[in-house]
Symmetry: C2
């Protein structure tokens, strides 16, 4: 497929323009464009420009309010709530960030509930700026039914990513962000678009038979990673991002969704911990860095975010390569003519 | 192998006697006996009487103080610390339980750090009594180096279980407890004892080659579940149960350990959340139960703890079957003659 070189700034501006043209105000367009741009920049195209048509579809259908103004409340001494008021998740997350960091610093541990948001982004973009402030942080969110519980033959759990970030001082934070599915749904969608098979174990077809055909998996079910253990994590994520906080479970999100191809309604839970309050104020950083030194000294080991950071360096200097039809599609959504 | 029927009370009394004879005071012996008994009762023999020789070895070598009196302190508004003062974990966990539940109820979310403990038990025994009080709870603890990080060929991470409990009112709580290893180390040890191979993917030998021989894996390394995703969870557990709280990482625990076969020194982190403070006070329970009804309505699905609860019912009425040599070994440790 022909690819087009875009600078990171091009990606951001194109995304903002497409969103603004379909009803996002400046703040919402900027917040969404930031996570789309971060994904392209860091080599995660399945959360990059590839998502823009879905974001726009959700604006056009009226499912998502592009002018939503999130509000932040305190539910308990250690618990904050951000009500997204029907907007995309990124602005709600941005509004909740400083209050969560402040509360973790005051309490040692704090939780943040996000409700009435439409989530379509990678979680690591949300956790990096928190971990960069010296705070360890978890995130949990669900999605439309995509993954068959261990033993079952049809999709019930969302892709249900869980992410964790750990502060590393002058190093970039260690952040992993992993779906409970064996393979990220966005990667399967991209394989379907590009006509590639996916690896065995990624999913089953609508009859419950194993397949490597991405389209059959998208019409059937993804499988959890690591069998029943990944399935248990998917279950946990549903309970945290749905049951605990009063938001939609994946099966409920599907019942409510208008199937416009954009993100479903859902919730998210963040848990933030300040290592300065866990009994090892003086030593925790040096102690943990010694652990990373030992770990990274093993042959064959790389940290979860290593590839992202390497991609980031090259993208910031040399730009990113985006499939030409996608660039033209997003240009069209932004009201721009196709490339000359 | 010949097996002997014991009642659940027999298991408890035998364990208490063996521990008391080697220097545990009544409280410590009772707390350890409780977790050993729960494991036998619920069909998890790898954490049952099988562990008693190790507990005793740690008392005999002087590594663990059988008369330790844990102390509970508050580190921050939302953070408690239990110092185990060099004792086995179960009494420290018991002492910390009510304060943690109370703090979660007051704050919405609370963490508990446990340090200077020697942990050799299943985590679900710790979380059930918390979840039964209406509190959702996570636990993380590490262990001696056992698992090769994804890509590496030697053990570095501990088995590093992560557990999660969810309150279900009149139902038993949903509790899962899973090692970051593809297979529980205790199961591999039991397979080695009994001369059975283990399933492919459980581990590698000392040269880094895949093997199904349990003894070779114990001399080599276990593999993480689900490849790099399980490896990321093992990494997270090290950071939470070691780096965050100022306790030993697995590689440090190995450097400190006297290799008496008992539990290593380590730490544990609990995080407790009270669903009454997360924005859905009225509805969270019924809403989550509707989710369980949907989930359990799928063909082939069972909840993580279903097998444990089924075993529990049969053990309480019909007792448990324990290998005869193990019963005689523990009887010997308790100062009793072999069975007639």
């Amino acid at each position: 497929m022909e690819r087009v070189a875009l600078s990171v700034d091009d990606v951001r501006e194109l995304t903002r323009a497409a969103l603004a043209r379909h009803g996002c105000d400046d703040e919402n367009a900027a917040a969404v464009a930031e996570v789309v741009t971060a994904a392209e920049r860091d080599g995660c195209p399945s959360h990059g420009l590839f998502r823009v048509p879905g974001y726009v579809a959700a604006l056009k259908s009226g499912k998502v309010n592009g002018k939503a103004q999130p509000s932040v409340d305190r539910l308990a001494a250690g618990v904050l709530k951000v009500d997204g008021h029907g907007g995309f998740a990124p602005l709600a997350l941005r509004c909740g960030r400083a209050p969560l960091v402040d509360l973790a610093r005051a309490q040692g541990i704090a939780a943040e509930v996000l409700t009435d948001i439409y989530h379509f982004a990678a979680l690591w973009t949300e956790l990096e700026p928190i971990a960069e402030q010296g705070i360890a942080v978890f995130a949990f969110t669900s999605y439309l039914p995509s993954v068959a519980p261990a033993g079952a033959k049809r999709a019930f759990f969302g892709t249900n990513p869980m992410a964790f970030g750990w502060p590393r001082g002058s190093h970039p934070p260690m952040v992993f962000d992993q779906a409970s599915a064996a393979m990220a749904r966005g990667e399967i969608q991209i394989a379907a678009r590009d006509g590639h098979p996916v690896r065995a174990g990624a999913g089953i077809d609508a009859d419950g038979n194993p397949t490597t055909d991405p389209a059959s998996i998208l019409g059937g079910a993804q499988l959890p990673f690591g069998g029943y253990k990944g399935s248990a994590i998917a279950l946990m994520v549903e309970l945290l991002a749905g049951g605990l906080i009063g938001e939609a479970f994946a099966f409920e999100a599907a019942q409510q969704d208008n199937k416009d191809g954009g993100p479903p309604r859902g919730g998210e839970l963040l848990i933030a911990l300040d290592p300065m309050h866990f009994g090892d104020r003086e030593r925790w950083h040096a102690h943990s860095e010694r652990f990373f030194t030992e770990l990274c000294g093993l042959d064959g080991v790389r940290l979860p975010a290593d590839r992202r950071h390497a991609n980031r360096q090259s993208s910031l200097s040399g730009g990113v390569q985006v499939p030409a039809p996608l660039v033209d599609e997003v240009r069209g959504l932004a009201g721009l003519p196709p490339r000359a």
